[in-house]
């Protein structure tokens, strides 16, 4: 795993990412990493988006997580698809590793009322406590918890 200059662990796990979404209308390469939302029991893909204020989970996934009945904070979010209504929810998400350790996150995510886009990992409420690095040659996503 990656080390800091003083030899401490910088990341604790790594996983291969999908670097394109052949079906995406926009067509440019993106980084999709594997996550496992709590209670879902299966891995799904989420686009890494440090420019997004919040992470977004598809409503169907939130429903499968039994998250829809949890109390949330109503919010309107501006996206490239336009403004969308939904709620901020506190939940648990695992970023899955192929090698090394995964990380469990207690994070805040935005669950839209209606949403045709994918899942996103945004900075606020989630990535702000994750160290990560990308190897675009090998398509490895290195990550670990930020102290």
């Amino acid at each position: 795993m990656l080390k800091t200059l003083d030899g401490a662990d910088f990341t604790t796990g790594r996983a291969r990412f999908l670097d394109e979404d052949a079906n995406a209308l926009e067509g440019t390469a993106k980084i999709f990493v594997k996550i496992e939302p709590s209670n879902l029991g299966f891995p799904v893909l989420a686009q890494l988006d440090t420019g997004s204020a919040w992470s977004i989970l598809k409503p169907e996934i939130a429903e499968a997580m039994q998250l829809m009945n949890e109390e949330g904070e109503p919010k309107r979010l501006s996206t490239r698809f336009g403004s969308i209504d939904g709620q901020l929810k506190r939940t648990n998400i695992t970023i899955l590793a192929d090698d090394g350790n995964s990380i469990d996150l207690e994070a805040t995510v935005f669950v839209p009322t209606e949403w045709t886009g994918g899942n996103f990992l945004g900075y606020g409420g989630l990535l702000e406590r994750v160290r990560f690095a990308v190897d675009p040659q090998e398509n490895f996503f290195y990550f670990g918890p930020s102290a």
Partner: protein, 217 residues
């Protein structure tokens, strides 16, 4: 200078709480000294990068200190001129001064934190909430907002997935054929496809291994 409160949050204040609206407007003038409206910053253009955002953040920070001041100080004096003749409607029981002031400050701070959150200034929203006295942190609205704005907690886990290179390749090769559908793929093989996640889960929940689930957009 007229600062417009375009945030519905402020519009939800009842008429008997107009004085709180006045204080919130004052806060907005302090935190946003330009002619931009306060809160819900998403519809407007992004602030330019020549220090404007930094300046606004500094002003907002100064407001956070401002709300921490005792109620009898600057804020009260500045609001005095614009307060209605009576803060409370006729017949309404007026709370004890100290309690009333604390409630006012809590409500203002909540509204400001909410507005900062709406404009994606998460760190400042956290600081605004942190400025509240400990005794006021038990309010249910405050608790909910603090929970949502809490920094994420991360810890390592022994859970591990498999290398999905073959599954990624399957998605690249077959996406055109499954538009709009949910698919379950494992080891480069399609296990199931369905029009909804719920239906797909019915197909795969009894498997001994865990396929990758993905909706082809």
């Amino acid at each position: 200078m007229d600062v417009q409160l375009n945030n519905n949050v402020f519009d939800q204040l009842t008429s008997s709480r107009d004085y709180i609206r006045e204080k919130a407007a004052l806060a907005a003038r302090i935190a946003h000294s330009s002619d931009q409206s306060f809160g819900l910053g998403w519809p407007g253009p992004c602030p330019d990068e020549n220090g404007e955002r930094t300046r606004k953040a500094a002003l907002a920070r100064s407001f956070i200190h401002f709300v921490k001041e005792p109620a009898a100080t600057f804020m009260e004096s500045q609001c005095e001129k614009s307060l209605p003749a009576s803060k409370h409607s006729v017949g309404q029981k007026e709370p004890p001064p100290a309690q009333g002031v604390a409630a006012e400050n809590m409500e203002i701070t909540y509204r400001v934190a909410l507005s900062l959150m709406e404009s994606e200034q998460i760190t400042l929203a956290r600081r605004a909430l942190d400025s509240l006295p400990v005794g006021e942190l038990g309010d249910s609205l405050i608790v909910r907002l603090r929970t949502m704005l809490a920094v994420p907690a991360a810890k390592t886990s022994q859970k591990r997935d498999i290398d999905r290179t073959l599954d990624y390749q399957w998605i690249r090769d077959h996406a055109q054929d499954y538009r709009g559908q949910w698919v379950a793929v494992n080891n480069g093989q399609l296990l199931a496809a369905a029009t909804s996640l719920r239906e797909l889960l019915d197909h795969v929940k009894h498997l001994k291994y865990r396929p990758l689930l993905h909706q082809i957009s």
